[in-house]
Amino acid sequence: MKFNLSKSKLSGYLQSILQIVPTKSTLPILSNILFEALDNKLKISATDLEVSITATFECNVTKKGVAVLPARILFDIIKELPESEITFEGTPSRVEIKVPHGSYKIACASADDFPKLPTVNIKKQISLDRDHLVTMIKKSTFACSTDETRPALNGVLWSTSGDRMNMVATDGHRLAKISVENKKLQGIAEDIIIPPKVLNVIPKFAGESDEEIGIIFGEHNIIFNLGDIILTSRLIEGPYPNYEQVIPAESNKKLIISKEELAGAVRRVSILSNSLTHQVRFAVKNNTLTISTTNADVGGEGKEAIPCDYIGDAIELGYNALYVSDILTKIEGEEVIIELSSAVAAGIVYSPSIPKEEFLCLIMPLRLAE
C-alpha cells in the first residue's frame, strides 16, 4: 500500500471519522480505522457496530492495499504535523508515515478482524434539505434515554404523515417533539427509530445550508449520504411508546416568563441542589415564580424570585434543574411559555413565536417531600 495526500485534507477527514470511533469499547478492534487504498481513491472507515462511517475521496495512490491503524494515535500524530504532503507506505502489518523531516511507524491490527460494514437492502430513497434535518436533530436528540431497559427510547422516532415529518425523543422524564413540513415526503409513512449517535454526527459536517442530504431507508439500517461521507446506522426495533397520549390535551395554568431570567435563576439555584436529584422547587403565585432549593450536605439554601405572567391557581412543584436547563436551550425567542395542570403532571414548554404543534417539550416534575 502506498499513497500520499496533504495533512489538512487527511486531518479533516480523520476528525469526522473519530466521532464514530468508540472511546471505551468492549471490543478493542473498534478503536481502529480501516484504510483502503483503491484506484486513485482513498476510503477510510470506522464503526462502533451500531454506526459506521466511510469517507471516500480522491487521493494519489501508487500502490493499492489495506491497513487497520489505531485511530487515536494516528490522529494525534497527524494533528501535530505542520502542513505538508504525507506519504503512507507499508504492508497490512506495519505502516510507515513519511513526513518532510522524519517518519513514524505504526503496527497495524489485522484487517480480517475489522468488522464488515453492513450491506443494505434499499427500500426507499429520498433527499432532504440539510437545514431541515439539522434543526430537527438539534431539537430532539437531547431527550433520548440512555438506559438499557427500553431500547426503543434509546432512539429518536422519525415519523411522517402527509407532508409533515416529526422527530420525537423521550427518556420518560422529558420529551421533545418537532414537526416540519416537507413536500418530498409523500409516500413515506413508515415510522423508524434511529440511534441518536448517528444523528448527532450529521450537524458537525460542514456543508452549505441549501445542500441536500440523501437518505436511504433499509430494512434494518438507515444511510445518510453527505457526499464524500456515508453514515450508516442500525435502526432500533420498535414499537415506540404512544407518545401522543402523554402530551396533555389541556392545562389550566399558563406561565409566560423571560427565558434568559429563568435559565439564569435555575442555573444559579441548582448549584445548591442535591447533587444526585438536582431538585429545585418552583412556586408560582401572583405573577411571581420563586425557584428555591435546600441542601443538607452543604447546609445551603438558595432562592430567587422572577416576575412572570401567570394565569391559574398558585402551584408548587419540583423539577430536575438539568432537565429544565436542557429544554430552555432548545426554545427560541426571548420568552418561554410553560403550561401546567398539577404538581404531578407533565408541563408543556414552548416558545411564543413557534406554535406548539411545531415544537414542544414536556417535562415531568419530581415529587416534592410534603
Binding site: 471505551k24 468492549t26 471490543l27 478493542p28 434515554s145 440512555t146 438506559d147 438499557e148 431497559t149 427500553r150 423521550t170 427518556d171 420518560g172 422524564h173 422529558r174 420529551l175 411508546p241 402523554v246 442535591n274 444526585l276 436529584t277 431538585q279 435546600t294 441542601n295 443538607a296 450536605d297 452543604v298 447546609g299 439554601e301 419540583g318 430536575n320 404531578v344 407533565a346 414536556l362 415531568m364 416534575p365 419530581l366 415529587r367 416534592l368 417531600a369 410534603e370
Partner: protein, 385 residues
C-alpha cells in the same frame, strides 16, 4: 419506661469476681490486637475511658484497669434472667439490646401504688437476685424515656413529662437527642441549629426540606412527641454503595453461566436496595479473569433504579466481550452506588404505566415471598444455570 443496666458487662464481671469491686474494669477485645472498649465500670469512666474507645488508648488513660475479654454466653444468660424479672412488673416488655428494655407501665404501676414504688421494688429484686444496678427513665413516650434514663446514672430514676423535657433538653446541644451523632450534629450546625431548642423552633416542613423522612423524626423528638423507629440519618449517609461479588468455584468461559451469575448478583443487590428503600444511579461490574487481571466498569443511568432487570441489563452491557469466549472468568461482582432515597425526590415518569410498574410489582411480590419463606424460596429462572 426505659431500663438501662449500668455498665452491664463490667457489672457482670465484677459480680463474678468480687475482687474487682471498686476497681476500674474494662470489657473489650484482646488488647494485643486492634479492639475497642465494649463497656467499662464507672471507676474506669472517671479516667475518661468510654465505650467505643480503642483498648490501647483506654490503657494509656487508665493503666491500672483490669481488661476482660468478656463472655458473651454469660451476658446473654443474665439478660434472660433480667427479662424474667421485668415481666413481673409490666405486661409489655420489649428488649432493645442485651442490657436495655422498654416497658409499658401505663396503668399497671397502680398495682404497686406509685411509679416510684414499682421502680424501687424492681431495682431491689434485680440487686438481690443478680447484684446488678440499673437506671430508669420514665416519660410519656419511649424516646424521651430513653433519654431520661441516661440522666442519673448509675442506679438512677428520672421521671419527666414533656414540659420537664423541654426545660432539661432545649438548652443542650443537638446531640443530646438520642440517635444524633457527630455527622448529623455537624449538618445541623451548618444550618444554624446548635441546641435541641433550636430544632424545636423549626417547622416540620423546613426540617423535611433538608433531611427528608429524618426531618419528621427531628421535628417529633424536638417537640417531645413519640416516633416510630427510623434509621438514623447517619446510617443513611453512610450507605454510599452496595455490592455483591462471588469467586466462582471453577473459572468459567460459558457466557450463559457468566450472565446467570451476573443476574444472581443483580438480584441480591437490587433486593438490598429495596430493603433500604434506596434507588441507585450508578451500576458497576467487576470482573477478574483466571490470570487475575481485574477490571471494573460502571455506568450512570438516568432513571435511578432498584430493579434487578435494569441492573442486570446494564451490567451485562458493561461486560467486555473478550470475557467468555476467549478469557475465563474467576470472579464477578455487581455494585450500585450514588444512592438516593426512594420515597423522597422521586422523579415522576411520563410513561410509567406499563413496564416500570409491572416490574416493581413483581419485585414486591418476590420480596414478600422471600420475607416470609426465606431468600431461597423463590429464584429468578435465569439464575438456575
Amino acid at each position: 419506661m426505659h431500663v438501662d443496666m449500668d455498665a452491664f458487662f463490667a457489672a457482670f464481671e465484677t459480680r463474678n469476681m468480687p475482687r474487682l469491686k471498686g476497681k476500674p474494669v474494662i470489657v473489650g477485645g484482646d488488647p494485643r490486637f486492634r479492639s475497642v472498649v465494649s463497656t467499662c465500670s464507672y471507676e474506669a469512666r472517671e479516667f475518661g475511658v468510654h465505650s467505643g474507645m480503642p483498648i490501647k488508648k483506654a490503657k494509656q488513660l487508665c493503666p491500672e484497669a483490669v481488661i476482660i475479654s468478656g463472655t458473651l454466653r454469660g451476658y446473654v444468660y443474665t439478660s434472660a434472667l433480667l427479662q424474667k424479672i421485668f415481666s413481673n412488673y409490666a405486661p409489655k416488655v420489649q428488649p432493645i439490646s442485651v442490657d436495655e428494655v422498654v416497658m409499658d407501665i401505663t396503668g399497671c404501676f397502680r398495682i404497686f401504688g406509685t411509679v416510684e414504688n414499682l421502680v424501687t421494688q424492681m431495682k431491689a429484686q434485680i440487686k438481690k437476685e443478680l447484684d446488678i444496678s440499673c437506671s430508669v427513665g420514665i416519660a410519656p413516650v419511649r424516646i424521651l424515656a430513653k433519654m431520661a434514663s441516661g440522666e442519673n446514672k448509675p442506679d438512677g430514676l428520672t421521671i419527666i413529662d414533656v414540659d420537664d423535657y423541654k426545660k432539661m433538653f432545649y438548652p443542650r446541644p443537638v446531640d443530646a437527642i438520642w440517635g444524633i451523632g457527630e455527622a448529623t450534629k455537624k449538618l445541623l450546625e451548618k444550618i444554624g441549629l446548635y441546641t435541641v431548642g433550636d430544632i424545636a423552633k423549626k417547622t416540620e416542613k423546613e426540617l423535611k426540606a433538608y433531611f427528608g423522612k429524618y426531618g419528621t423524626f427531628l421535628y417529633m423528638v424536638s417537640q417531645g412527641r413519640g416516633v416510630s423507629k427510623v434509621h438514623s440519618f447517619e446510617e443513611r449517609l453512610d450507605e454510599k454503595s452496595m455490592s455483591h461479588e462471588t469467586t466462582l468455584t471453577v473459572d468459567i468461559n460459558d457466557i450463559d453461566k457468566i450472565y446467570s451469575t451476573l443476574l444472581w448478583l443483580s438480584d441480591k443487590v437490587s433486593m438490598r436496595l429495596r430493603q433500604g428503600s434506596f434507588l441507585a444511579r450508578t451500576i458497576s461490574v467487576k470482573i477478574r479473569s483466571s490470570d487475575f487481571e481485574t477490571i471494573t466498569r460502571d455506568k450512570t443511568v438516568s432513571h435511578p433504579t432498584d430493579q434487578c432487570k435494569l441492573i442486570f441489563e446494564t451490567a451485562k452491557k458493561l461486560l467486555p466481550r473478550k470475557y467468555g469466549p476467549s478469557v475465563k472468568v474467576r470472579l464477578l461482582g455487581v455494585k450500585v452506588s450514588n444512592l438516593i432515597e426512594n420515597e423522597e425526590n422521586r422523579q415522576l415518569s411520563l410513561l410509567e404505566d406499563d413496564v416500570g410498574e409491572k416490574m416493581s410489582a413483581s419485585s414486591e411480590a418476590i420480596d414478600s415471598i422471600r420475607n416470609r419463606y426465606g431468600s431461597s424460596a423463590i429464584k429468578l429462572a435465569g439464575t438456575k444455570l
